[in-house]
């Protein structure tokens, strides 16, 4: 199993380690609920080094990425990033990822841990003999730490002379934190303000230690999952997969298919015209039981859909869930039942996201 550059730090902190996409990762240090709360109220740090970091450079880089990504890289400013989807010819989602435009011909792609190999292979399949492109997978030489929470910017500022406030959302910059060279981006997966920091393996443990010293609470992947669910951010393998398209997952706004070279242009243009047949919705249940991935959704004793993710929200103090239902049953307040281990629990469709931070 792969270990991140912070593995020893997790063991020292007595973390519970689990296998996640082939990586040994901390699911929790103390408690999932207390860790999620720390991110909503102060600031937390997550080791997200299991996610891929793929550098793509060369004259053909933008031309090849424009065939693959759901966004047009020509429309991204240098130093900026965009969330997007990597779809196959049928419109199925191979992965969702963030693409950073470091320079005109330099990009950084952040795929999910379990999809990094598939994304690399997909990119390779577009390379021809005439392509001028260099692909450099720096995942195992670097770490990535997510620093998230309302106090994130204030506490990180104490470690650098760079003006963090000037690093706007979805912007990346090279700075030093306590003398350590890092690339820092104003992105995250928790619904809070914060940063994702890439550093070299040799500096990983010193940086992690420093972040704890300034008051950041170590948080495991368990709290990361509930935080992203509260913010209704999709997880590949749950809300999105090869058998879902971006429109049914409410991700149509991240698709710009008006490029002739785009591989999924035809299929996605068609779906955007006709509209999706089903829709990802938020669900509120009447009980304390938690709907979980795979549970059936019923209306009038008929199985009409399924739960993609469910969990216990420490922010709202109740279970929350998302799932797919046919478009004709997708209106807010629609009543339905969820089959939780043979018990049909009453629920209704509610607005998502479940949690939205107050903008300062």
């Amino acid at each position: 199993m792969n270990k991140t550059g912070l593995y020893d730090s997790h063991i020292e902190l007595n973390a519970k380690m689990v296998d996640f996409g082939g990586w040994s990762m901390p699911i929790q240090y103390v408690s999932i609920l207390s860790e999620s709360k720390s991110v909503r109220t102060k600031s937390g740090i997550f080791d997200v080094s299991h996610m891929g970091r793929i550098k793509i450079s060369g004259k053909s880089s933008s031309e090849i990425l424009n065939q693959i990504l759901s966004v047009n890289t020509d429309n991204i400013e240098i130093g900026k990033a965009k969330y997007n989807l990597i779809c196959n010819k049928k419109g199925g989602i191979i992965d969702d990822c963030i693409v950073y435009k470091i320079n005109k011909e330099d990009f950084l792609l952040i795929p999910n841990a379990s999809n990094t190999k598939a994304v690399l292979e997909w990119i390779q399949s577009f390379i021809t003999n005439n392509s001028d492109i260099l692909i450099n997978d720096i995942t195992s030489n670097t770490v990535m730490i997510a620093h998230q929470g309302p106090d994130s910017i204030k506490s990180l500022q104490s470690l650098t002379s760079a003006h963090l406030q000037e690093i706007k959302p979805f912007t990346i910059k090279n700075i030093t934190l306590d003398g350590i060279k890092v690339s820092i981006a104003r992105t995250g997966y928790t619904g809070e303000d914060g940063f994702e920091i890439i550093a070299e393996n040799k500096d990983a443990r010193a940086l992690w230690g420093k972040l704890i010293e300034i008051g950041s609470n170590p948080c495991g992947l368990g709290s990361r999952d509930i935080l992203r669910l509260e913010a209704s951010l999709p997880l590949h393998g749950n809300e999105i997969s090869l058998s879902t398209n971006p429109y049914e997952a409410n991700l149509g706004r991240f698709v710009d298919s008006q490029r002739d070279q785009y591989i999924a242009k035809n299929v996605l243009t068609e779906i955007s015209k006709t509209g999706p047949k089903r829709k990802l919705v938020g669900l509120q249940v009447s009980d304390r039981v938690i709907p979980r991935n795979g549970h059936e959704i019923h209306i009038n004793n008929k199985n009409i859909g399924y739960i993609t993710s469910g969990g216990y929200s420490s922010t709202l103090n109740r279970p929350i869930a998302m799932g797919y239902v046919p478009i004709e049953f997708s209106e807010i307040n629609t009543k339905l039942n969820i089959n939780i281990r043979g018990r049909f629990i009453e629920a209704y469709i509610c607005k998502i996201p479940f949690y939205k931070r107050r903008k300062k």
């Binding site: 408690s31 609920l33 304390r288 039981v289």
Partner: protein, 126 residues
């Protein structure tokens, strides 16, 4: 750290004899540590007759759902309603305030099917 005056099952329940043919039942700190934050506990109503080692309820943590088994036969006389309303009690105080239910009409010979503290300590060390 597992109390000496309790008996233990391999499913990580503890039982404490509480007066004549009555007992209090809970789960061990080893179990709660593995479950993580508990958010929901479902137990049979008072009056229900239960049989040793059968599944009688469910305990749900943020991570997953697990079955609750009873370490002894008898009739449920009381649920810990404080626990039902504050499931985190079981994480904070598994051997005391986080007890789950009380049973009466137990057959004390069934205690022979359970472990003493030394044997249970060994089990969880493995």
């Amino acid at each position: 750290m597992n109390p000496k005056d309790l008996k233990y099952s391999k499913d990580h329940e503890w039982i404490k004899i509480d007066g004549d043919n009555s007992a209090v039942i809970g789960i061990t700190s080893f179990a709660t540590d593995n479950l993580g934050d508990v958010v929901f506990i479902e137990l049979p109503d008072p009056g229900t007759n239960i049989k040793q080692f059968e599944k009688i309820g469910e305990i749900e943590s943020v991570k997953a759902v697990s079955d609750i088994f009873t370490p002894i036969s008898g009739e449920i006389v009381q649920q810990n309603t404080k626990l039902i309303n504050n499931p985190e009690l079981i994480n904070n105080s598994p051997f005391k305030d986080g007890w789950m239910f009380k049973v009466k009409n137990i057959n004390t010979t069934e205690l022979e099917n359970l472990m003493g503290v030394d044997e249970y300590d060994l089990l969880i060390k493995e």
